[in-house]
């Protein structure tokens, strides 16, 4: 256990992982209650196009993915409101198109290699110092914005019309929440990879929602489960030489199953 905290690469992974885990769980709670759980999945696939583009242009893939995901999230928002597409249609279309574009770009730039795979499956243990700083800073901004708008987000998630009637600018906050989700998904991608990042957004939050009697409890439980999954998952990965992403996601799923069963047996 001691060795676990001694290695520089583990410290970096833990630092970035914990911050990102908190951001993911916080947003996850709101997204699930807004019936918007799939947006994380969609935006992750779209960020794949960003990563491929970054590798293609030889620019920092994380930054390009961030730009692409934020732009796409705003377009999806607009389409949802104005285009008259049914529910998840915009997300479904965008996520597949994003992935298709990514495959194309990756092939064109001959970058179907270890680098690309690290984005698909996550390689938090290989995160470098500049990426840690980038991730922690962004995750911190996300956390601050969520905390500052916590009550507005809660009000409009629970009772949109009353929130609007009492002067909450719900349209602007919708956009803010979507952009924050895009940023968080791109950050989470570094931890568990494009293919599993939506799990990090949805599963700890879904687990926390099983037992919560108040919103505060929901937030507290979800973030705790998220952080615990990341820390324990990294530990197991280090100890048993397992992939970190898979360990983290399966641990959070374990927490979900436990809490789900607990709730069902309580009744």
């Amino acid at each position: 256990m001691d060795a676990f905290f001694l290695y520089g690469f583990l410290q970096r992974a833990l630092l970035a992982g914990v911050f990102i885990a908190i951001a993911c769980a916080l947003l996850g709670v709101f997204l699930i209650l807004r019936r918007d759980a799939m947006i994380g999945h969609g935006l992750a696939h779209i960020s794949f196009a960003g990563v491929a583009l970054g590798l293609f242009l030889n620019m920092m893939p994380l930054a390009v993915a961030l730009f692409v995901a934020v732009a796409a999230s705003m377009i999806i928002m607009k389409l949802k409101v104005t285009a008259g597409l049914h529910g998840d249609t915009a997300i479904a279309i965008f996520s597949s198109v994003g992935f298709a574009l990514g495959v194309l770009l990756a092939t064109l730039s001959h970058s179907f290699n270890v680098d690309l795979f690290s984005y698909l499956f996550g390689e938090i243990l290989a995160i470098d110092t500049s990426e840690v700083l980038f991730s922690v800073a962004l995750a911190f901004v996300v956390l601050c914005l969520v905390v500052l708008n916590y009550h507005k987000f809660l009000y409009m998630t629970f009772d949109r019309e009353s929130a609007k009637a009492s002067g909450v600018n719900v349209d602007r906050l919708d956009s803010l929440l979507t952009v924050l989700t895009a940023v968080t998904v791109v950050l989470g991608m570094k931890v568990v990879g494009i293919l599993l990042v939506s799990a990090l957004v949805v599963i700890p939050a879904a687990a926390g929602l099983q037992l919560a009697k108040s919103f505060k409890q929901a937030i507290g439980l979800s973030t705790s489960i998220s952080v615990a999954s990341v820390v324990l998952g990294l530990y197991l990965a280090f100890l048993l030489d397992l992939p970190a992403s898979g360990s983290i996601v399966l641990l959070s799923f374990l927490a979900f199953v436990l809490l789900f069963v607990l709730r069902r047996t309580r009744k």
Partner: protein, 254 residues
């Protein structure tokens, strides 16, 4: 400005408001005032445009013609929305699994208007006072989904009251509530109207069941067919016509 309006006693002025959803008119040329300390019931059959009118007053919908003035300002200019407490119809059909406590629901209105929200002692007291006003202070740690429809309705009223409004607008507040609870409910509104001088506006499609505490009636059926005191409404031709048409008019007036 405010004092002049207060002297006049006019809080809301609805002027020649018309609206349609694209399949014919819903409201046509509706004009009437809402004054300080009114206890007004907006009545009319289903689809008579009652909820639409409320949404126009709250700025959630824009009228196609005409306008609404609140304290002498148009809805676009009006900023002090805390003055109007809104209790939506949906209160009875909330997501019953939503993890939110009664206290958190009541605090939503206060805290969402602050730049750096914190549940300070002062806000905590406001939440408690509002819960006490509706008799729900013992339920503050309960999850909202575990309460009955009538109790949930009270919590939503407490949320509106916590903002210390001058007007309380309630959309179909007693739907799905038994007769005894309904009576208690109107007594509570009456107390708020009398003791706190809060103007009460409520809408109901149950044209007949007008509680004795209601002082004014506005009857909508596309146009405004009646606006005046509850007493006169009971003697009016409109009332008799609606009775004859079978709107189940059983006025609880005496």
């Amino acid at each position: 400005m405010d004092s002049a309006v207060a002297k006049q006693g006019r809080l809301i002025d609805i002027r020649k408001v018309s609206y349609d959803y694209g399949y014919g008119d819903v409201l046509k040329d509706v004009s009437f005032p809402i004054n300080t300390k009114d206890f007004l019931a907006i009545i009319g059959p289903n689809g008579a445009g009652k909820t639409t009118l409320i949404k126009i007053i709250l700025g959630l919908l824009k009228p196609h013609s005409g306008r609404v003035e609140i304290m002498g300002k148009t809805v676009e200019e009006f900023k002090d929305w805390k003055m109007i407490g809104y209790v939506p119809q949906k209160a009875t059909s909330i997501d019953s699994l939503f993890p939110v406590s009664v206290k958190e629901v009541v605090a939503m209105g206060i805290l969402s208007s602050l730049r750096f929200p914190r549940l300070s002692e002062e806000n905590d007291r406001r939440v408690f006072t509002a819960l006490k006003q509706v008799g729900m202070e013992d339920y503050k740690h309960r999850r909202i989904g575990n309460l009955s429809a009538g109790q949930q309705q009270r919590v939503f009223i407490a949320r509106a009251l916590a903002d210390r409004p001058k007007i309380l607008i309630l959309d179909e507040p007693t739907t799905g509530v038994d007769a005894r609870t309904r009576e208690h409910f109107y007594d509570m509104l009456h107390k708020l109207n009398e003791d706190e001088a809060i103007t009460i506006v409520l809408i109901t499609h149950e044209v007949g069941i007008i509680n004795r505490h209601v002082a004014q009636v506005a009857c909508l059926d596309l146009t405004l067919v009646y606006h005046g005191s509850h007493d006169e409404f009971c003697r009016s031709d409109e009332f008799k016509r609606m009775l004859a048409e079978g709107h189940h008019l059983v006025s609880h007036h005496h």
